[in-house]
Subunit: 318 residues, 2 copies
Amino acid sequence: MRYSIGIDFGGTNIAVGLVDESYRVVTKSSLPTGKGTRSVDAMVADMAVLCRKVAEDGGITLPEVSSIGIATPGTVNSEKGIVIDYPGMGLSSYPMAAILSDCLDGFDPARIRIANDANAAALGEAVAGAAKGADTALMITLGTGVGGGIILGGRIYDGFNFSAAELGHTVIVKDGHPCACGRRGCFEQYASATALIRMTREEMETCPESAMWQYSPTLESVNGLTSFECAKAGDAAAKRVVDRYIGYLACGVANMMNIFQPQVLCIGGGVCGQGDNLLKPLSELVFAEQYAKTAPQKTRLVIATLGNDAGIVGAAAL
Amino acid sequence: MRYSIGIDFGGTNIAVGLVDESYRVVTKSSLPTGKGTRSVDAMVADMAVLCRKVAEDGGITLPEVSSIGIATPGTVNSEKGIVIDYPGMGLSSYPMAAILSDCLDGFDPARIRIANDANAAALGEAVAGAAKGADTALMITLGTGVGGGIILGGRIYDGFNFSAAELGHTVIVKDGHPCACGRRGCFEQYASATALIRMTREEMETCPESAMWQYSPTLESVNGLTSFECAKAGDAAAKRVVDRYIGYLACGVANMMNIFQPQVLCIGGGVCGQGDNLLKPLSELVFAEQYAKTAPQKTRLVIATLGNDAGIVGAAAL
């Protein structure tokens, strides 16, 4: 059995898993990232500690691990193992693979790979999750923002400058809601969990009688569940929010279908906890809107299955 | 010297060229398509006539031609040489490569390739035009509609069902102008020559004093030049049209940059005759809007150079 290690370098936790050749996470461990309280070098040192631990827990030694992969936010040069740009952590041209290698007594740096976290999650779903076996797959993650990952020919596609797949930063409402990227009307501003919460609050403000006020007594307490849960219970205002949100989501998803026609388009992120309550109406809208209506083969539109492990599995598969 | 033949199966003309190994069109000939007046089999027979003619004009025999490529509208299975769907010509599951082979005394059907015309044009620009040498290139053609072609790894990307790259059918204005594809607010409805003409007419109707009424005395006589030419001459209303049009175009182009980060993004079609009057303001908007502002390598945004030969050259390169 061959093993690899996947590292998910998150903003809150550094999660590391030992992954077998069928992409099963065998052992797993994590430490707090400590963002803002310590240097990135110290975080990478903790990655090394966790690598040793998951290997030991799995009953193997580090040299027996075939490769180590790191999934990190930001723009990365996967070939050179460098984080080109990760403003949130103040990183620029940071040789993460080389530094981890040093922390691991010279573990061959050529066997340490690195990828953007959204891309790694897409690869994880493509090798072991909802898009398993797909040669072409897209992943759209609905979280604080809208992340994107493109898998073509079974590999991450990240463009000629490692910056591609910013699917959330495609405008679907020209001159619409301002986005942190500087544009207006980005998909992210209408399909992220943040957007869902914004829409929920807007509707609650115009509907004091809505049951959403029982579920979330203050606007501050509104979360991604408020509208979906109250809609299930029959609240008309909540249903309007859900319909509006899914309408925007379908618009962006149908755009990606028309561009890529992937074998699998995988939706991830917290909102997907809604399962069929999200997927069924979304599928109806997307397949009614997308261009290739007469194509004999249709894209499979699915919900991600790996959850928080997608980054670890994808990193291990790099 | 190796030669191949490229066939551009247009709605008005069938244009065929003999192309040398450096993708130069050596000899060229065409016949009217005769759409609506005769069978597609008869059109394919004319393709064969033209193939023989361009080979003869080039001083070689047909068996010396290494391959023949056909660029056709519609959805095609390039591997099997079949037009899956071309509603405008009433074609469905039409074995075009096999029929052309029959018309050419059994020219090896495995050496006859076929591709969607927008995809072939993109390949043409990537092998011999404005995107020459690019490993990843996008082409956006601004004509009656907005066509798209995606070149990845030097090859056409057409999705797992041969229907990808419908870049014009991505919504940029949710619930906007209705599109023939059934969606509302498609890029095509704001960036095609047709859209430019619509915007020009709208502005003229509200501005009876505009110089555009001198250039195009009736709304029916408005064309893709009206606004650009009058804007150059200083007409304020015409300038508003041009600015509005380029604003929408930039929105869709920046979307594609954020998704693909290609080495080259190539704009083709009649509107490109405007050259720098289009490219300069477009570039400013696109590079201000796109996501990878800090990336060390930037996409080259260029105007197509092959013109009407792009289809022939791309088909010959299949």
